[in-house]
């Protein structure tokens, strides 16, 4: 039995990850009555595994990236049996930024014009230049660190905080890139180099992708949400949204949600904003079918859930005959390279990849890497050499641009449900031949970058099955309701008081780590809602 909760709010936001946090802060500061519903709860920096000496074992299960392995109460199962990869996420206040590395590169100008430049996919309805002021505003708010003037970008790219040290590992990677005449630039990270608002200075723990014990990484439970709460945001944790409720007129009226005891509630809202990531948002839209929206909410185009992009990751770990202090962060990117970002048909594929260098902390992790050499090299007499290599390692890693394909999609599984009986998402994702070519090319280049500066051992991984946390494209934006789900301000073509503000919006994915772009889009969506409030289908 649903209970009606409190008063109708102006704006109800589903999810408190980067996009939800930015949208919430923007709208509450603009004077609206805003509520966020979050299925997880708070994580304290003192909770993170790196606080304990057994952290390398904790990340294998209890703190794994893959929710199907981790299986926390806030997680929901993903049906991945027809997918080449297992998407990852973190379900908590702050969303998956709890577990991202804080790498903060913007998309390049070409990413917004793939159709115009490469004759494939679609152009975005907005441009690099239109996005820039939103990026700049978010960067200032969270205190992004970096070096101004990256030559991979148009002039005018500056950062509010100084960079982090390259460290010995980063210097080694830079030497490799220089030897090959590659572009590289000191890492741009959403990690504070000095005390900034609610963020602490980086302590170089090196475990950013498993939570920052220092509270320096801009996870959005630590920045934006605290400021939003201070400004009056209402936040309910342990609140799992099961559907967006629409009326006979097709407009959103609010959401049904389930609390941590399994009780059902209804929260009314003038406007609903979905920020539940590229899988969760598509799932929720498909769950919200009705007589007016028989194929799922906002789905007259049939594109909700389709065009899922996951940025397949590949890596090459390299070990050297010199100490590289491999346990020292940030991780975070020590540097990035955009050398192979844009299309060069001589390479045999379209679009490209973004590379970055990272530390490789932990002796058990080093032993795990050496398993690829076989039993004799890892165990027995080989064990000690494998463990002792831990301080001389450096990781080159890539995000690969996977192109949007309608067959890569999120649907509702007919059998699997979460603990509240809500259908689980089914992920169908297959690597294209173009993507496989980029992955192979990337591994060759990263191996080259190691070998040119004397790596004695390299360990390629051509595809990380359990790494894709970049969940993109499943509610794409565009000007044409027949070929897109929402407009360039995130407003659903079919439901004028429903908005999407997360990675689902992205038309193409580029290969830059996307949280930076997601937050700029969320800021743009939220400002659009605020600026046009009087003209909404439901005026605010």
């Amino acid at each position: 039995m649903s209970s009606r909760n409190g008063d109708k709010v102006d704006v109800l936001i589903v999810g408190t990850g980067p996009s939800g946090a930015v949208a919430a802060h923007t709208l509450v500061e603009a004077g609206f009555d805003v509520m966020c519903l979050e299925q997880g709860d708070w994580v304290n920096p003192s909770d993170y595994p790196a606080n304990h000496p057994e952290w390398e074992l904790l990340i294998q299960k209890d703190w794994a990236h893959d929710p199907n392995v981790r299986q926390l109460p806030s997680d929901y199962p993903l049906e991945n049996s027809e997918s080449d990869m297992s998407p990852v996420m973190f379900n908590a206040v702050g969303g998956s930024s709890i577990y991202y590395g804080g790498e903060w590169p913007r998309l390049l100008p070409s990413d917004f014009r793939v159709r115009s430049l490469d004759g494939i996919c679609d152009d975005w309805p907005i441009s690099y230049e239109e996005m820039k002021p939103y990026h700049d505003e978010v960067d200032r708010f969270i205190g992004v660190s970096g070096v101004d003037g990256d030559t991979a970008y148009p002039a005018g790219l500056t950062y509010p905080m100084p960079p982090h040290p390259l460290g010995k590992a980063g210097r080694k990677a830079a030497e490799g890139a220089n030897a090959l005449d590659w572009h590289w630039w000191p890492g741009t990270n959403a990690i504070a180099t000095y005390k900034h608002k609610t963020l602490e200075p980086c302590g170089r723990w090196g475990t950013c992708e498993f939570g920052c014990p220092e509270g320096a990484k801009a996870s959005f439970d630590l920045i934006y949400l605290p400021q939003a709460l201070q400004a009056g945001l209402k936040l309910k944790t342990g609140a799992r949204v099961r559907r967006v409720v629409t009326g006979a007129d097709g407009l959103a009226e609010g959401v049904e949600w389930v609390d941590r005891e399994g009780r059902e509630h209804f929260q009314a809202a003038e406007v609903v904003v979905l920020c539940a990531n590229g899988i969760g948002t598509a799932r929720l839209l498909l769950l919200s079918d009705s007589a007016v929206h028989p194929d799922g909410l906002a789905n007259s185009s049939g594109l909700v859930g389709r065009n899922l992009m996951l940025h397949p990751n590949c890596t090459v770990s390299g070990y050297y005959d010199e100490p590289l202090v491999s346990w020292e962060g940030p991780a975070g990117q020590l540097l990035h390279s955009m050398q192979f970002y844009d299309t060069d048909l001589d390479r045999g594929f379209v679009r490209g990849l973004k590379m970055h260098a990272m530390p490789l902390p932990g002796p058990l992790n080093c032993v795990e890497t050496h398993r690829a050499l076989g039993f004799e090299e890892t165990w027995g007499e080989g064990f000690h050499a494998a463990a002792e290599a831990h301080g001389s390692g450096l990781l080159w890693a890539c995000n690969v641009e996977d192109l949007p394909e309608e067959t890569n999609r999120v649907t509702l599984d007919p059998e699997l449900t979460d603990g509240d009986g809500i259908p689980a998402p089914k992920v169908e994702y297959r690597l294209s031949e173009n993507t496989r070519k980029i992955l192979r090319f990337a591994v060759e280049r990263m191996t080259e970058a190691h070998e040119v500066v004397g790596a004695t051992k390299t360990f390629p991984v051509e595809l990380w099955i359990d790494q894709p946390g970049h969940l993109l494209g499943t509610a794409r934006m565009g000007d044409d309701p027949a070929t897109s789900v929402v407009d360039s301000f995130g407003r659903a073509h079919d439901v004028p008081n429903l908005f999407v503000a997360d990675g689902s919006l992205m038309v193409t994915g580029g290969s830059a780590n996307p949280t930076c772009t997601i937050t700029a889009l969320a800021l743009r969506v939220a400002k659009g809602i605020a600026a046009n409030a009087r003209d909404q289908a439901v005026a605010l």
């Binding site: 703190w63 109460p73 000191p186 014990p213 002796p363 058990l364 000690h384």
Partner: protein
């Protein structure tokens, strides 16, 4: 009720319960078997005895089993199986296990190696300080890019593709 539980034992949703001790203490026989497996995988080296003979190994083994409390029955059962194998045949038996049941071997070997690599003296010997706060000097970042290492990139100039 969620298949993952409505909440953790501590009443949390997004934070797993942290266990300093395994959900049950291994029996003496299991402990001996785990030590035997560890000794087979990690022979004496550089002044260190076999893992089971290093002071403190048992307490770190408990910590490792606590961290993988989900697998304690699987790990102890496998250890008993290989603990019963004659010592001289144990490495070969473990090698065959690694080939035949790689996931199970992965868990077993991670737990015993993880325990060994937590021993403070072992960490000191391999030069691992553990993950900890170690902020840079004020001028460290500048120092590391002002020696000309970035100059080749800057000298090549803009490298992006203009877009219409």
């Amino acid at each position: 009720m969620s298949p993952y539980g409505r909440t953790t034992a501590a009443g949390k949703l997004s934070v797993p319960d942290y266990l300093r001790q395994p959900p049950r203490q291994p029996s003496a026989e299991e402990r001996a078997a785990l030590g035997a497996v560890a000794d087979a995988l990690i022979p004496p080296h550089g002044g260190f005895a076999s893992p089971s003979q290093v002071p403190g190994f048992d307490s770190w083994l408990d910590r490792a089993l606590a961290a993988r409390s989900d697998a304690i029955e699987e790990v102890t059962a496998a250890a008993l199986r290989f603990g019963a194998v004659p010592a001289e045949e144990r490495p070969a038996a473990l090698r065959a296990y690694a080939e035949e049941e790689p996931a199970a071997f992965h868990t077993l070997s991670s737990v015993v190696a993880g325990a060994y690599l937590m021993i403070p003296e072992v960490r000191a010997a391999i030069g691992y300080p553990g993950q900890r706060k170690h902020p840079p000097r004020f001028d460290e970042a500048v120092e590391q890019i002002m020696d000309g290492i970035l100059d080749p990139v800057i000298e090549r100039g803009p490298a992006y593709t203009p877009a219409p």
